[in-house]
Amino acid sequence: MGIKKFIESVVELLELDEFENSGKKKSLKRLLEKLKARKEILNKAVKKKITKKEKKELKEELAIVTVQIKKAEKILDELNNKKEAKVSKKIKDN
């Protein structure tokens, strides 16, 4: 076994490649929580009696937050799918 393959096997065995992804997932989940909380606040604020300019600004912020939430959820799904694909490949190999 070459040294490269050996290192790859150790990395796989210790699931070290998952380490980076799990850090990313944690960060994304935390961000998602914050964004969702912000969206809720913005939704409430838009319904209040405010000036046209303020409403425009809030709507813009809401649109940005909505896009960001979608983006974060998509990345999170991709990371989860990656892990699932790996697990099913392992089961198949075994």
């Binding site: 961000l31 914050k34 912020e61």
Partner: protein, 604 residues
């Protein structure tokens, strides 16, 4: 001249020594192998000092006691206080830590260096240490040849320890054989005079070897075979502690002002500790005897007693100095001032110096901080170039009011500002980056490339401001209300951008950073006056002249470019390397399609 003579003289003296005494050759080889071991150990730790370094430093040096602990652990692990001092100067140079924290690390390193004496006295002299060295060397060298950075690092550490042990073995063997031919102890000088002579020898030996550690190990080896007396050994230890400051002084020559101050602190601390130790020598020796008796160390076991003295002497120094750290910092700030070059009219770099090139991480941190320095200068130039006041931008003042409060009645000369406060720094950043990247991994080089682009973005933004400035002045007092409104709107837009970027530079909450960056990107679209129909409307209704239309079209493009460059720069230099956002920042930044989506959602 002296330098040219020094090296050949040393080599000649050594060669003569080797010729007349094979034992001297063995001892010298031991010292050489020991020093080589330290170099290998240093390489090994450098391999592990990647991205985590800044995070660890931040957390472990935020109080004086933590800094001392960090210095102790780092020195105990690396077995070199000189290396820790040089790295600390490098951290200070890169702006990763402050002077007080650096002093704390130096204090800790001084205590940490005692572990070497314990290792040698308690372990190295009792066991056949070379037995452990051999397998370490073999495993170490095998791992050094591997491609993986971490394996290479482990290899260097193992080989380094192996060489340290082997060096100790040769020194011990050399002194044992030496004992039969020459008795160094017969040269021992009693009393105060003897102490001063041996302190001087200790200083000299450490300056030559650039390691107090190696000197102390050499002293212990000589003491173990009674080649020197216990009292002379104590004096040599004190001398070694003064001599070790030379490494930091040499390291600080290429550092910034705080690095020089730290080297000054190191010298003052070690000198005063030595003076105190000499003044209370009798009491110190009694205390060592008292502690040694309680630890069960035999009265004739001088090597372990010397290790006790070494620890007591260094801990005493730190305890005496702890209450005076703030005084020491203010004294150094007053006495070591920046040279003429650092306060001259043409602003220079703050963080880039050769000392931070020690580690890729410190080099990277210094480049990021210098880029932020460049940004701060650019922020001011752009703000004044737009004839706005910096303090208004960074306040809560409504944007519409900001444009009504001009910075000056005459236009500022952007070229002069650029030459004085941007050009030199920018040039040095690019030059330094080229030097730094030779030591960096491909991933670091990629990150460095992004930082270089961020620097270019800053410079481009200033240049675009210069082009924009001309018509801003021209149309500011123009009787045509429509063109004035358009230029005011450009100013308001850029003021908002500058405010948002300033907020981002101070923020830590990732959702807010991402939101502000997205907002800035969305607002950037307002400058596309062709697409949003503004220009069409103004021309169709004959509200502006053709010349005005051309100017407006060009200047909107400049404003768009300023925004684009500043946002791109912020995405690189304000995404905190230690925070959550670094993990996800790049993925969460919005694309042009996302901007369209947001603009459409806004309209509905």
């Amino acid at each position: 001249m002296l330098r040219k003579i020094f090296l050949p003289s040393i080599l000649l003296v050594l060669a003569y020594g080797f010729w007349i005494s094979p034992n001297f050759k063995e001892i010298s080889a031991g010292v050489a192998i020991f020093l080589f071991g330290m170099i290998a150990l240093e390489e090994g730790f450098k391999a592990f000092s990647g991205g985590m370094l800044e995070k660890i430093l931040k957390k472990s040096t935020d109080t004086l006691y933590k800094s001392i602990g960090f210095g102790f652990v780092a020195t105990a692990m690396m077995q070199s206080s000189s290396l820790v001092s040089v790295l600390t100067i490098s951290f200070i140079g890169a702006g990763l830590i402050g002077l007080a924290q650096g002093i704390g690390i130096i204090f800790g390193a001084n205590i940490g260096t005692t572990t070497g004496a314990w290792l040698m006295a308690g372990f190295g002299l009792k066991i056949h240490i070379a037995q452990y060295a051999m397998p370490m060397l073999v495993f170490g060298v095998v791992l050094i040849f591997q491609k993986a950075k971490s394996l290479k690092g482990i290899g260097y550490i193992l080989a380094g320890l192996g060489f340290l042990f082997l060096g100790i073995h040769y020194m011990k063997e050399g002194f044992e054989a030496f004992k039969d031919t020459i008795d160094l102890a017969s040269f021992a000088v009693p009393g105060f005079k003897g102490m001063m002579i041996f302190i001087g020898i200790g200083i000299l030996a450490t300056v030559i070897m650039q390691s107090s550690h190696a000197t102390i190990v050499l002293i212990l080896a000589a003491l173990a075979v009674n080649q020197i007396t216990y009292e002379n050994a104590i004096a040599l230890v004190i001398g070694a502690n003064i001599g070790t400051t030379i490494t930091a002084i040499i390291g600080s020559l290429s550092s910034n002002i705080d690095g020089k101050r730290l080297a000054g602190a190191h010298l003052i601390f070690n000198l005063i500790t030595a003076v105190i130790a000499v003044l209370i020598m009798d009491q110190m020796i009694s205390a060592v005897a008292f502690i040694s008796d309680h630890l069960g160390i035999a009265s004739d076991n001088h090597t372990l007693r010397l290790a006790v003295f070494d620890s007591l002497f260094k801990i005493m120094g730190v305890v005496v100095f702890i209450p005076f750290v703030d005084t020491l910092v203010s004294f150094l700030q007053k006495s070591i001032k920046p040279g003429k070059k650092e306060v001259e009219e043409f602003e220079g770099v703050k963080y880039l110096n050769d000392s931070v090139l020690e580690l890729p991480t410190t080099a990277m941190a210094a480049i990021i901080r210098e880029t932020r320095h460049l940004y701060t200068n650019a922020f001011e130039i752009i703000t004044h170039g737009l004839n706005l006041k910096r303090e208004n931008i960074v306040s809560d003042m409504p944007l519409e009011d900001i444009v009504k409060d001009p910075y000056s009645n005459t236009a500022i000369d952007i070229d002069t500002f650029y030459n004085h406060r941007i050009k030199g720094i920018y040039g040095e950043i690019i030059d330094f980056s080229t030097k730094a990247q030779s030591q960096m991994s491909p991933a670091n080089i990629e990150a460095l490339y992004a930082i270089k682009l961020a620097n270019r973005d800053i410079v481009e933004a200033i240049k675009d401001t210069k082009y924009l400035q001309k018509n801003l002045i021209k149309y500011d007092k123009n009787p045509n209300q429509y063109i004035k409104e358009q230029y005011d709107s450009i100013k308001i837009g850029l003021a908002e951008l500058l405010r948002n970027i300033d907020l981002i530079s101070k923020m830590t909450e990732e959702d807010e950073i991402i939101l502000l960056l997205s907002k800035a990107k969305v607002h950037m679209q307002q400058y596309d006056i062709l697409a949003n129909g503004t220009l069409d409307k103004l021309i169709r209704h004959d509200l502006i002249t053709n010349e005005m239309a051309t100017s407006l079209m060009n200047d909107s493009a400049y404003a768009y470019n300023i925004s684009k460059n500043f946002i791109a720069m912020a995405e690189v230099i304000f995404i905190d390397a230690t925070g959550d956002i670094k993990n996800i920042g790049e993925d969460m930044l919005i694309s042009d399609e996302d901007v369209d989506l947001i603009l459409n959602a806004k309209e509905t």
